[in-house]
Protein backbone atom coordinates (compact mmCIF):
# COMPACT_ATOMS: atom_id res chain seq x y z
CA UNK A 1 0.00 0.00 0.00
CA UNK A 2 1.33 3.40 -1.00
CA UNK A 3 2.18 5.86 1.75
CA UNK A 4 -0.57 8.50 1.98
CA UNK A 5 1.80 11.48 1.75
CA UNK A 6 3.65 10.05 -1.24
CA UNK A 7 0.28 9.37 -2.88
CA UNK A 8 -0.62 13.07 -2.56
CA UNK A 9 2.67 14.05 -4.21
CA UNK A 10 2.17 11.44 -6.95
CA UNK A 11 -1.40 12.61 -7.65
CA UNK A 12 -0.49 16.29 -7.86
CA UNK A 13 2.70 15.77 -9.86
CA UNK A 14 1.00 13.10 -12.01
CA UNK A 15 3.82 10.61 -11.64
CA UNK A 16 4.20 7.02 -10.49
CA UNK A 17 4.39 6.92 -6.66
CA UNK A 18 7.06 4.22 -6.98
CA UNK A 19 9.60 6.79 -8.19
CA UNK A 20 9.08 8.98 -5.11
CA UNK A 21 10.66 8.60 -1.69
CA UNK A 22 11.53 10.79 1.29
CA UNK A 23 14.58 12.22 -0.51
CA UNK A 24 12.53 13.41 -3.50
CA UNK A 25 12.78 17.16 -3.98
CA UNK A 26 12.33 19.79 -6.71
CA UNK A 27 16.00 19.16 -7.57
CA UNK A 28 15.44 15.54 -8.56
CA UNK A 29 11.77 15.45 -9.62
CA UNK A 30 11.33 17.37 -12.85
CA UNK A 31 7.57 17.89 -12.49
CA UNK A 32 7.96 19.40 -9.00
CA UNK A 33 8.33 22.95 -10.27
CA UNK A 34 7.47 26.28 -8.66
CA UNK A 35 3.79 26.23 -9.56
CA UNK A 36 3.36 22.57 -8.60
CA UNK A 37 4.78 23.41 -5.18
CA UNK A 38 1.73 25.51 -4.32
CA UNK A 39 -0.65 22.88 -5.70
CA UNK A 40 1.09 20.42 -3.39
CA UNK A 41 0.58 22.70 -0.40
CA UNK A 42 -3.14 23.04 -1.19
CA UNK A 43 -3.48 19.27 -1.69
CA UNK A 44 -1.65 18.45 1.56
CA UNK A 45 -3.76 20.97 3.51
CA UNK A 46 -6.96 19.48 2.10
CA UNK A 47 -5.97 15.82 2.49
CA UNK A 48 -4.68 16.10 6.07
CA UNK A 49 -6.96 18.93 7.15
CA UNK A 50 -4.18 21.25 8.34
CA UNK A 51 -3.17 24.84 7.70
CA UNK A 52 0.51 25.40 6.87
CA UNK A 53 2.37 28.61 7.68
CA UNK A 54 4.96 30.27 5.43
CA UNK A 55 7.78 28.84 7.54
CA UNK A 56 6.31 25.34 7.42
CA UNK A 57 5.86 25.52 3.66
CA UNK A 58 9.45 26.70 3.26
CA UNK A 59 10.66 23.80 5.38
CA UNK A 60 9.10 21.26 3.03
CA UNK A 61 12.04 21.08 0.62
CA UNK A 62 11.83 17.27 0.37
CA UNK A 63 9.06 14.74 0.95
CA UNK A 64 10.89 13.65 4.10
CA UNK A 65 10.90 17.20 5.43
CA UNK A 66 7.21 17.55 4.56
CA UNK A 67 6.60 14.40 6.57
CA UNK A 68 8.49 15.78 9.58
CA UNK A 69 6.60 19.06 9.36
CA UNK A 70 3.25 17.26 9.29
CA UNK A 71 4.27 14.96 12.14
CA UNK A 72 5.16 18.03 14.20
CA UNK A 73 1.52 19.08 13.70
CA UNK A 74 0.36 15.66 14.95
CA UNK A 75 -0.61 14.42 11.51
CA UNK A 76 0.00 10.64 11.32
CA UNK A 77 2.00 10.30 8.11
Amino acid sequence: MVDSLIQVFADVLEIDPAVLNDDSSPDNVQKWDSLSAMKLVAAIEEKFNVRLSTREIMKMSTIGRARKTLQSKNVPV
Binding site: S34, T54, R55, I57, S61
Partner: protein, 510 residues
Amino acid sequence: MDVQNLAILACILVFSFCARFLQIVTLRQVLLLCVSYWAYAHWAGKWFLLLLIASSLMNYFWGSVLRRRSTTALLWIGIGLNVFLLGFFKYMPAIAAEWPGAAGAGFLRDIILPLGISFWTFQGISYLFDLYREEELDPSLLEFCLYMAFWPTVASGPVARLPNMLPQFRQTSTAVGEDFSVGTVRIVQGIFMKFVLAHLLNVGLSPGGGVSAGFDEVASARSGLDVWALAIGYGFLIFFDFAGYTNIVVGAARLVGIRLPENFNRPYLSTTPSIFWTRWHMSLSFWIRDYVFMPLVTLRRNVWWPYAGLVIAMVIFGFWHGAKLTFGLWGLYHGILLIGHRVGQRLQRRIPIDLPSPLGVLLSWACTFLLVSLGYIFFRANDLGQVLQMLRAVVSPRSYALSHATLPQDYYLLVSLLVAGYFAYVGLVDLLGLWTTRYRANLRRSEQPMSLQGLDSFPSLSGAVLWIDSLLVERKWWLLTPVLVLLLMVTSLSFLNQNSNIAPFIYTLF
Protein backbone atom coordinates in the same frame (compact mmCIF):
# COMPACT_ATOMS: atom_id res chain seq x y z
CA MET B 1 45.31 39.06 -18.28
CA ASP B 2 48.96 40.09 -17.82
CA VAL B 3 51.81 37.97 -16.48
CA GLN B 4 51.55 39.42 -12.95
CA ASN B 5 47.86 38.55 -12.67
CA LEU B 6 48.50 35.07 -14.03
CA ALA B 7 51.26 34.58 -11.44
CA ILE B 8 48.95 35.71 -8.61
CA LEU B 9 46.22 33.38 -9.85
CA ALA B 10 48.74 30.54 -9.97
CA CYS B 11 49.78 31.30 -6.36
CA ILE B 12 46.14 31.33 -5.25
CA LEU B 13 45.61 27.94 -6.90
CA VAL B 14 48.80 26.42 -5.49
CA PHE B 15 48.15 27.62 -1.91
CA SER B 16 44.54 26.41 -2.07
CA PHE B 17 45.58 23.07 -3.52
CA CYS B 18 48.17 22.64 -0.75
CA ALA B 19 45.54 23.51 1.87
CA ARG B 20 43.66 20.29 1.18
CA PHE B 21 46.60 18.27 2.50
CA LEU B 22 46.59 19.98 5.90
CA GLN B 23 45.28 17.54 8.49
CA ILE B 24 44.22 20.17 11.04
CA VAL B 25 40.78 21.36 9.90
CA THR B 26 41.02 24.84 11.43
CA LEU B 27 44.43 25.41 9.88
CA ARG B 28 43.10 24.36 6.48
CA GLN B 29 40.13 26.71 6.82
CA VAL B 30 42.37 29.58 7.96
CA LEU B 31 44.66 29.11 4.96
CA LEU B 32 41.70 28.96 2.54
CA LEU B 33 40.16 32.08 4.09
CA CYS B 34 43.46 34.00 3.91
CA VAL B 35 43.88 33.01 0.26
CA SER B 36 40.26 33.98 -0.45
CA TYR B 37 40.63 37.41 1.19
CA TRP B 38 43.94 37.97 -0.60
CA ALA B 39 42.28 37.06 -3.93
CA TYR B 40 39.30 39.34 -3.27
CA ALA B 41 41.52 42.25 -2.19
CA HIS B 42 43.54 41.79 -5.36
CA TRP B 43 40.50 41.63 -7.63
CA ALA B 44 38.18 44.12 -5.93
CA GLY B 45 40.39 46.30 -3.70
CA LYS B 46 40.92 46.45 0.06
CA TRP B 47 37.92 48.69 0.78
CA PHE B 48 35.54 46.27 -0.81
CA LEU B 49 37.24 43.45 1.09
CA LEU B 50 36.31 45.32 4.27
CA LEU B 51 32.73 45.52 2.99
CA LEU B 52 32.69 41.76 2.39
CA ILE B 53 34.03 41.16 5.90
CA ALA B 54 31.45 43.55 7.37
CA SER B 55 28.64 41.77 5.52
CA SER B 56 29.94 38.39 6.73
CA LEU B 57 30.08 39.58 10.35
CA MET B 58 26.64 41.16 10.12
CA ASN B 59 25.04 38.00 8.71
CA TYR B 60 26.82 35.75 11.20
CA PHE B 61 25.74 37.94 14.10
CA TRP B 62 22.16 38.14 12.80
CA GLY B 63 22.18 34.38 12.31
CA SER B 64 23.07 33.85 15.95
CA VAL B 65 20.19 36.18 16.91
CA LEU B 66 17.82 34.17 14.69
CA ARG B 67 19.05 30.89 16.16
CA ARG B 68 18.11 32.11 19.63
CA ARG B 69 14.82 33.71 18.62
CA SER B 70 13.58 32.74 15.19
CA THR B 71 10.79 35.20 14.40
CA THR B 72 9.57 36.42 11.04
CA ALA B 73 10.26 40.05 12.00
CA LEU B 74 13.90 39.31 12.83
CA LEU B 75 14.30 37.40 9.57
CA TRP B 76 12.96 40.33 7.54
CA ILE B 77 15.22 42.80 9.35
CA GLY B 78 18.23 40.64 8.44
CA ILE B 79 17.09 40.35 4.85
CA GLY B 80 16.35 44.07 4.74
CA LEU B 81 19.92 44.88 5.80
CA ASN B 82 21.28 42.68 3.02
CA VAL B 83 18.91 44.07 0.41
CA PHE B 84 19.76 47.63 1.47
CA LEU B 85 23.48 46.97 1.07
CA LEU B 86 23.01 45.36 -2.34
CA GLY B 87 20.47 47.93 -3.52
CA PHE B 88 22.65 50.86 -2.45
CA PHE B 89 25.61 49.78 -4.55
CA LYS B 90 23.63 48.32 -7.41
CA TYR B 91 20.93 50.90 -8.03
CA MET B 92 22.13 54.16 -6.44
CA PRO B 93 24.35 55.17 -9.38
CA ALA B 94 21.45 54.72 -11.82
CA ILE B 95 19.01 56.57 -9.53
CA ALA B 96 21.51 59.42 -9.02
CA ALA B 97 22.01 59.66 -12.77
CA GLU B 98 18.23 60.15 -13.18
CA TRP B 99 18.23 63.07 -10.68
CA PRO B 100 21.53 64.84 -11.25
CA GLY B 101 20.40 67.90 -9.24
CA ALA B 102 19.70 65.97 -6.02
CA ALA B 103 22.03 66.37 -3.03
CA GLY B 104 24.98 63.98 -3.23
CA ALA B 105 24.05 62.85 -6.74
CA GLY B 106 27.58 63.41 -8.01
CA PHE B 107 29.06 61.18 -5.32
CA LEU B 108 26.40 58.49 -5.65
CA ARG B 109 26.72 58.38 -9.45
CA ASP B 110 30.40 57.45 -9.13
CA ILE B 111 29.84 54.51 -6.79
CA ILE B 112 31.47 51.37 -8.15
CA LEU B 113 29.74 48.01 -7.81
CA PRO B 114 31.79 45.81 -5.46
CA LEU B 115 32.85 42.62 -7.21
CA GLY B 116 30.41 39.77 -6.60
CA ILE B 117 28.28 41.71 -4.09
CA SER B 118 25.11 40.12 -5.48
CA PHE B 119 26.45 36.62 -5.10
CA TRP B 120 27.80 36.86 -1.57
CA THR B 121 24.76 38.84 -0.45
CA PHE B 122 22.51 36.06 -1.80
CA GLN B 123 24.56 33.55 0.16
CA GLY B 124 24.10 35.64 3.31
CA ILE B 125 20.33 35.82 2.75
CA SER B 126 20.04 32.07 2.13
CA TYR B 127 21.86 31.45 5.44
CA LEU B 128 19.30 33.55 7.33
CA PHE B 129 16.41 31.86 5.54
CA ASP B 130 17.87 28.41 6.24
CA LEU B 131 18.08 29.22 9.94
CA TYR B 132 14.51 30.51 9.85
CA ARG B 133 13.33 27.24 8.33
CA GLU B 134 15.19 25.43 11.08
CA GLU B 135 17.98 23.80 9.10
CA GLU B 136 20.56 22.40 11.48
CA LEU B 137 23.45 24.78 10.80
CA ASP B 138 26.20 25.54 13.28
CA PRO B 139 29.04 27.22 11.40
CA SER B 140 31.91 28.78 13.30
CA LEU B 141 32.70 32.39 12.41
CA LEU B 142 35.71 31.16 10.46
CA GLU B 143 33.59 28.71 8.45
CA PHE B 144 30.92 31.30 7.75
CA CYS B 145 33.46 33.88 6.56
CA LEU B 146 35.00 31.23 4.30
CA TYR B 147 31.54 30.39 2.92
CA MET B 148 30.95 34.06 2.08
CA ALA B 149 34.42 34.70 0.61
CA PHE B 150 35.48 31.33 -0.88
CA TRP B 151 37.54 32.62 -3.81
CA PRO B 152 36.18 30.47 -6.66
CA THR B 153 32.61 31.63 -5.98
CA VAL B 154 33.12 35.15 -4.64
CA ALA B 155 33.11 37.00 -7.96
CA SER B 156 30.16 35.51 -9.86
CA GLY B 157 28.93 32.41 -8.12
CA PRO B 158 27.67 29.73 -8.47
CA VAL B 159 25.52 30.74 -5.51
CA ALA B 160 26.51 28.17 -2.89
CA ARG B 161 24.46 27.14 0.14
CA LEU B 162 25.86 26.55 3.58
CA PRO B 163 24.24 23.09 4.10
CA ASN B 164 26.21 21.94 1.04
CA MET B 165 29.48 23.75 1.80
CA LEU B 166 29.83 23.23 5.54
CA PRO B 167 30.47 19.46 5.48
CA GLN B 168 33.04 19.99 2.72
CA PHE B 169 34.87 22.69 4.70
CA ARG B 170 35.06 20.23 7.60
CA GLN B 171 35.96 17.07 5.67
CA THR B 172 37.90 17.58 2.45
CA SER B 173 37.58 15.01 -0.32
CA THR B 174 40.30 12.36 -0.29
CA ALA B 175 39.98 11.57 -4.01
CA VAL B 176 42.92 13.79 -4.96
CA GLY B 177 43.62 12.13 -8.31
CA GLU B 178 40.01 12.22 -9.45
CA ASP B 179 39.52 15.80 -8.23
CA PHE B 180 42.68 16.87 -10.02
CA SER B 181 41.75 15.31 -13.34
CA VAL B 182 38.10 16.39 -13.28
CA GLY B 183 38.99 19.88 -12.07
CA THR B 184 41.68 20.39 -14.69
CA VAL B 185 39.46 19.26 -17.53
CA ARG B 186 36.64 21.56 -16.34
CA ILE B 187 39.08 24.50 -16.25
CA VAL B 188 40.36 23.71 -19.73
CA GLN B 189 36.79 23.37 -21.05
CA GLY B 190 35.92 26.71 -19.47
CA ILE B 191 38.93 28.48 -20.93
CA PHE B 192 38.06 27.13 -24.36
CA MET B 193 34.39 28.15 -24.06
CA LYS B 194 35.17 31.68 -22.87
CA PHE B 195 38.37 32.63 -24.65
CA VAL B 196 37.73 30.89 -27.95
CA LEU B 197 34.01 30.27 -28.53
CA ALA B 198 32.47 33.25 -26.67
CA HIS B 199 35.23 35.56 -27.89
CA LEU B 200 34.74 34.46 -31.49
CA LEU B 201 31.00 35.14 -31.26
CA ASN B 202 31.63 38.49 -29.62
CA VAL B 203 34.11 39.90 -32.15
CA GLY B 204 33.22 37.84 -35.23
CA LEU B 205 35.42 36.62 -38.05
CA SER B 206 35.86 40.09 -39.50
CA PRO B 207 35.60 43.62 -38.09
CA GLY B 208 31.94 44.38 -37.35
CA GLY B 209 31.03 40.72 -37.79
CA GLY B 210 30.35 39.79 -34.16
CA VAL B 211 27.37 39.87 -31.83
CA SER B 212 28.52 43.09 -30.13
CA ALA B 213 28.72 44.98 -33.40
CA GLY B 214 25.38 43.48 -34.42
CA PHE B 215 23.71 45.13 -31.43
CA ASP B 216 25.87 48.24 -31.03
CA GLU B 217 26.78 49.35 -34.56
CA VAL B 218 23.36 49.62 -36.18
CA ALA B 219 23.51 51.69 -39.36
CA SER B 220 20.11 50.60 -40.68
CA ALA B 221 17.14 48.68 -39.32
CA ARG B 222 17.82 44.98 -38.82
CA SER B 223 15.80 42.50 -40.88
CA GLY B 224 13.81 39.60 -39.40
CA LEU B 225 16.60 37.13 -40.24
CA ASP B 226 19.19 39.47 -38.71
CA VAL B 227 17.25 39.68 -35.46
CA TRP B 228 16.92 35.90 -35.14
CA ALA B 229 20.62 35.44 -35.95
CA LEU B 230 21.55 38.07 -33.36
CA ALA B 231 19.24 36.63 -30.72
CA ILE B 232 20.51 33.08 -31.22
CA GLY B 233 24.10 34.32 -31.49
CA TYR B 234 23.83 36.25 -28.23
CA GLY B 235 22.16 33.25 -26.57
CA PHE B 236 25.18 31.12 -27.38
CA LEU B 237 27.62 33.94 -26.56
CA ILE B 238 26.23 34.35 -23.03
CA PHE B 239 26.05 30.56 -22.64
CA PHE B 240 29.69 30.00 -23.68
CA ASP B 241 30.75 32.98 -21.55
CA PHE B 242 28.91 32.10 -18.35
CA ALA B 243 29.06 28.31 -18.66
CA GLY B 244 32.76 28.74 -19.46
CA TYR B 245 33.19 30.85 -16.33
CA THR B 246 31.27 28.29 -14.28
CA ASN B 247 33.43 25.46 -15.63
CA ILE B 248 36.56 27.35 -14.60
CA VAL B 249 35.41 28.07 -11.04
CA VAL B 250 33.82 24.64 -10.50
CA GLY B 251 37.07 23.10 -11.76
CA ALA B 252 39.20 25.35 -9.54
CA ALA B 253 37.09 24.48 -6.49
CA ARG B 254 37.38 20.80 -7.37
CA LEU B 255 41.18 21.12 -7.27
CA VAL B 256 40.75 22.36 -3.71
CA GLY B 257 38.52 19.36 -2.99
CA ILE B 258 35.22 21.24 -2.94
CA ARG B 259 32.24 20.39 -5.15
CA LEU B 260 30.25 23.48 -6.05
CA PRO B 261 26.67 23.48 -7.30
CA GLU B 262 26.34 23.50 -11.07
CA ASN B 263 24.91 26.37 -13.08
CA PHE B 264 24.14 24.76 -16.43
CA ASN B 265 22.76 21.45 -17.61
CA ARG B 266 22.40 21.65 -21.40
CA PRO B 267 19.82 24.45 -21.21
CA TYR B 268 19.31 24.70 -24.96
CA LEU B 269 18.04 21.12 -25.10
CA SER B 270 15.09 22.03 -22.84
CA THR B 271 11.70 21.13 -24.23
CA THR B 272 9.66 23.57 -22.10
CA PRO B 273 10.35 27.00 -20.54
CA SER B 274 9.84 25.40 -17.13
CA ILE B 275 12.59 22.83 -17.82
CA PHE B 276 14.81 25.61 -19.20
CA TRP B 277 14.75 27.32 -15.81
CA THR B 278 15.90 24.13 -14.11
CA ARG B 279 18.92 24.06 -16.44
CA TRP B 280 19.95 27.72 -16.87
CA HIS B 281 21.87 29.58 -14.16
CA MET B 282 20.58 26.85 -11.88
CA SER B 283 22.19 28.03 -8.65
CA LEU B 284 20.49 31.42 -8.91
CA SER B 285 17.18 30.24 -10.39
CA PHE B 286 16.85 27.71 -7.54
CA TRP B 287 17.76 30.48 -5.10
CA ILE B 288 14.98 32.67 -6.57
CA ARG B 289 12.57 29.74 -6.34
CA ASP B 290 13.36 28.97 -2.70
CA TYR B 291 13.92 32.44 -1.24
CA VAL B 292 11.80 34.78 -3.42
CA PHE B 293 9.02 32.82 -5.06
CA MET B 294 8.12 30.48 -2.19
CA PRO B 295 7.83 33.14 0.55
CA LEU B 296 5.96 35.41 -1.87
CA VAL B 297 3.52 32.80 -3.03
CA THR B 298 2.52 31.73 0.49
CA LEU B 299 1.20 35.22 1.22
CA ARG B 300 -2.14 34.56 -0.49
CA ARG B 301 -4.08 31.39 -1.30
CA ASN B 302 -5.90 32.52 -4.45
CA VAL B 303 -5.78 30.31 -7.54
CA TRP B 304 -4.17 33.09 -9.59
CA TRP B 305 -1.66 34.26 -7.00
CA PRO B 306 1.04 31.65 -7.76
CA TYR B 307 1.00 32.89 -11.36
CA ALA B 308 1.34 36.49 -10.20
CA GLY B 309 4.08 35.39 -7.81
CA LEU B 310 5.92 33.74 -10.66
CA VAL B 311 5.80 36.90 -12.76
CA ILE B 312 6.89 39.08 -9.81
CA ALA B 313 9.79 36.70 -9.03
CA MET B 314 10.92 36.71 -12.66
CA VAL B 315 10.70 40.50 -12.90
CA ILE B 316 12.84 40.77 -9.74
CA PHE B 317 15.24 38.30 -11.37
CA GLY B 318 15.33 40.55 -14.43
CA PHE B 319 15.94 43.75 -12.49
CA TRP B 320 18.68 42.03 -10.48
CA HIS B 321 20.79 42.21 -13.66
CA GLY B 322 20.63 46.01 -13.54
CA ALA B 323 18.44 49.07 -13.23
CA LYS B 324 17.28 48.94 -16.84
CA LEU B 325 13.70 48.65 -18.05
CA THR B 326 14.78 46.08 -20.64
CA PHE B 327 16.03 43.70 -17.92
CA GLY B 328 12.65 43.98 -16.18
CA LEU B 329 10.91 43.25 -19.50
CA TRP B 330 13.13 40.21 -20.00
CA GLY B 331 11.99 38.89 -16.60
CA LEU B 332 8.36 39.70 -17.41
CA TYR B 333 8.71 37.91 -20.77
CA HIS B 334 10.00 34.77 -19.07
CA GLY B 335 7.27 34.97 -16.41
CA ILE B 336 4.69 35.06 -19.20
CA LEU B 337 6.39 32.16 -20.99
CA LEU B 338 6.23 30.06 -17.82
CA ILE B 339 2.56 30.84 -17.33
CA GLY B 340 1.88 30.26 -21.03
CA HIS B 341 3.45 26.83 -20.73
CA ARG B 342 1.29 25.95 -17.74
CA VAL B 343 -1.89 27.20 -19.45
CA GLY B 344 -0.88 25.25 -22.56
CA GLN B 345 -0.57 22.09 -20.46
CA ARG B 346 -4.09 22.61 -19.10
CA LEU B 347 -5.49 23.16 -22.58
CA GLN B 348 -3.73 20.05 -23.80
CA ARG B 349 -5.53 18.00 -21.17
CA ARG B 350 -8.89 19.33 -22.31
CA ILE B 351 -8.19 19.12 -26.06
CA PRO B 352 -5.89 16.12 -26.44
CA ILE B 353 -3.77 16.45 -29.57
CA ASP B 354 -1.77 13.30 -30.18
CA LEU B 355 1.39 13.99 -32.12
CA PRO B 356 3.87 11.16 -32.73
CA SER B 357 6.28 11.35 -29.79
CA PRO B 358 9.49 12.38 -31.62
CA LEU B 359 7.64 15.05 -33.59
CA GLY B 360 5.95 16.41 -30.46
CA VAL B 361 9.27 16.58 -28.59
CA LEU B 362 10.99 18.21 -31.55
CA LEU B 363 8.25 20.82 -31.89
CA SER B 364 8.30 21.51 -28.17
CA TRP B 365 12.09 21.86 -28.19
CA ALA B 366 12.06 24.16 -31.25
CA CYS B 367 9.39 26.44 -29.74
CA THR B 368 11.26 26.62 -26.41
CA PHE B 369 14.62 27.29 -28.06
CA LEU B 370 13.25 30.02 -30.34
CA LEU B 371 11.21 31.71 -27.59
CA VAL B 372 14.13 31.68 -25.14
CA SER B 373 16.41 33.04 -27.88
CA LEU B 374 13.92 35.79 -28.71
CA GLY B 375 14.00 36.82 -25.06
CA TYR B 376 17.67 37.74 -25.40
CA ILE B 377 16.61 40.76 -27.43
CA PHE B 378 15.24 42.29 -24.22
CA PHE B 379 18.34 41.24 -22.33
CA ARG B 380 20.97 42.54 -24.73
CA ALA B 381 19.37 45.44 -26.60
CA ASN B 382 20.76 48.83 -25.68
CA ASP B 383 17.38 50.45 -25.06
CA LEU B 384 13.64 49.99 -25.43
CA GLY B 385 13.66 51.62 -28.87
CA GLN B 386 16.01 48.95 -30.17
CA VAL B 387 13.88 46.20 -28.61
CA LEU B 388 10.78 47.52 -30.37
CA GLN B 389 12.56 47.86 -33.72
CA MET B 390 13.86 44.31 -33.49
CA LEU B 391 10.48 42.88 -32.45
CA ARG B 392 8.80 44.75 -35.33
CA ALA B 393 11.25 43.09 -37.72
CA VAL B 394 10.48 39.66 -36.23
CA VAL B 395 6.72 39.98 -36.80
CA SER B 396 6.95 41.67 -40.19
CA PRO B 397 6.97 39.05 -43.00
CA ARG B 398 8.38 41.58 -45.49
CA SER B 399 11.50 42.07 -43.43
CA TYR B 400 12.52 38.45 -44.02
CA ALA B 401 13.54 39.10 -47.65
CA LEU B 402 17.18 38.13 -48.04
CA SER B 403 17.87 41.49 -49.62
CA HIS B 404 16.95 43.19 -46.32
CA ALA B 405 19.65 41.36 -44.34
CA THR B 406 22.22 43.80 -43.00
CA LEU B 407 24.58 41.53 -41.06
CA PRO B 408 27.73 40.35 -42.85
CA GLN B 409 27.59 36.86 -44.35
CA ASP B 410 30.45 35.66 -42.17
CA TYR B 411 28.29 36.41 -39.09
CA TYR B 412 25.65 33.98 -40.35
CA LEU B 413 28.38 31.45 -41.14
CA LEU B 414 29.94 31.77 -37.69
CA VAL B 415 26.65 31.45 -35.78
CA SER B 416 25.51 28.51 -37.94
CA LEU B 417 28.80 26.69 -37.44
CA LEU B 418 28.94 27.22 -33.70
CA VAL B 419 25.28 26.36 -33.11
CA ALA B 420 25.45 23.25 -35.32
CA GLY B 421 28.80 22.34 -33.77
CA TYR B 422 27.40 22.62 -30.25
CA PHE B 423 24.39 20.41 -30.95
CA ALA B 424 26.58 17.91 -32.85
CA TYR B 425 28.99 17.81 -29.88
CA VAL B 426 26.16 17.22 -27.41
CA GLY B 427 24.72 14.50 -29.66
CA LEU B 428 28.13 12.85 -30.01
CA VAL B 429 28.72 12.85 -26.26
CA ASP B 430 25.32 11.19 -25.75
CA LEU B 431 26.03 8.65 -28.47
CA LEU B 432 29.39 7.77 -26.93
CA GLY B 433 27.70 7.44 -23.55
CA LEU B 434 25.15 5.08 -25.06
CA TRP B 435 27.81 3.01 -26.77
CA THR B 436 29.97 2.68 -23.68
CA THR B 437 26.92 1.69 -21.60
CA ARG B 438 26.01 -0.99 -24.12
CA TYR B 439 29.60 -2.10 -24.30
CA ARG B 440 29.86 -2.49 -20.54
CA ALA B 441 26.55 -4.36 -20.41
CA ASN B 442 27.82 -6.64 -23.12
CA LEU B 443 31.10 -7.12 -21.33
CA ARG B 444 29.26 -8.26 -18.23
CA ARG B 445 27.43 -10.90 -20.27
CA SER B 446 30.46 -12.13 -22.16
CA GLU B 447 34.13 -12.55 -21.50
CA GLN B 448 34.93 -11.52 -25.08
CA PRO B 449 35.13 -7.74 -25.05
CA MET B 450 35.27 -7.25 -28.80
CA SER B 451 32.00 -9.07 -29.59
CA LEU B 452 29.84 -6.04 -29.11
CA GLN B 453 26.15 -6.42 -29.80
CA GLY B 454 25.00 -3.72 -32.13
CA LEU B 455 28.55 -2.57 -32.70
CA ASP B 456 29.71 -5.60 -34.64
CA SER B 457 28.71 -3.88 -37.84
CA PHE B 458 31.09 -1.04 -36.91
CA PRO B 459 34.32 -2.89 -36.08
CA SER B 460 36.43 0.23 -36.18
CA LEU B 461 33.98 2.00 -33.84
CA SER B 462 34.03 -0.85 -31.33
CA GLY B 463 37.78 -0.39 -31.01
CA ALA B 464 37.25 3.32 -30.46
CA VAL B 465 34.58 2.64 -27.85
CA LEU B 466 36.91 0.21 -26.09
CA TRP B 467 39.59 2.88 -25.97
CA ILE B 468 37.22 5.63 -24.82
CA ASP B 469 35.75 3.30 -22.24
CA SER B 470 39.16 2.59 -20.75
CA LEU B 471 39.80 6.32 -20.60
CA LEU B 472 36.45 7.35 -19.13
CA VAL B 473 35.46 4.43 -16.95
CA GLU B 474 38.79 3.22 -15.68
CA ARG B 475 39.78 6.85 -15.15
CA LYS B 476 42.94 6.52 -17.16
CA TRP B 477 41.96 9.70 -18.94
CA TRP B 478 43.56 11.87 -16.31
CA LEU B 479 46.86 10.86 -17.91
CA LEU B 480 45.86 13.14 -20.77
CA THR B 481 45.22 16.19 -18.62
CA PRO B 482 48.71 17.73 -18.77
CA VAL B 483 48.69 17.39 -22.56
CA LEU B 484 45.21 18.86 -22.78
CA VAL B 485 46.08 21.69 -20.44
CA LEU B 486 49.18 22.57 -22.38
CA LEU B 487 47.39 22.40 -25.71
CA LEU B 488 44.46 24.54 -24.69
CA MET B 489 46.52 27.04 -22.73
CA VAL B 490 48.80 27.55 -25.73
CA THR B 491 45.81 27.83 -28.06
CA SER B 492 43.98 30.26 -25.81
CA LEU B 493 47.02 32.40 -25.06
CA SER B 494 48.02 32.63 -28.70
CA PHE B 495 44.44 33.57 -29.44
CA LEU B 496 44.60 36.23 -26.74
CA ASN B 497 47.76 37.73 -28.12
CA GLN B 498 46.17 38.20 -31.53
CA ASN B 499 42.98 39.64 -30.08
CA SER B 500 43.71 41.67 -26.99
CA ASN B 501 40.14 43.05 -26.77
CA ILE B 502 38.72 40.13 -24.76
CA ALA B 503 35.47 41.19 -23.10
CA PRO B 504 35.17 40.66 -19.33
CA PHE B 505 33.03 37.76 -18.13
CA ILE B 506 29.45 38.98 -18.63
CA TYR B 507 28.19 37.99 -15.18
CA THR B 508 30.98 39.79 -13.33
CA LEU B 509 29.09 42.95 -14.39
CA PHE B 510 25.99 41.92 -12.41
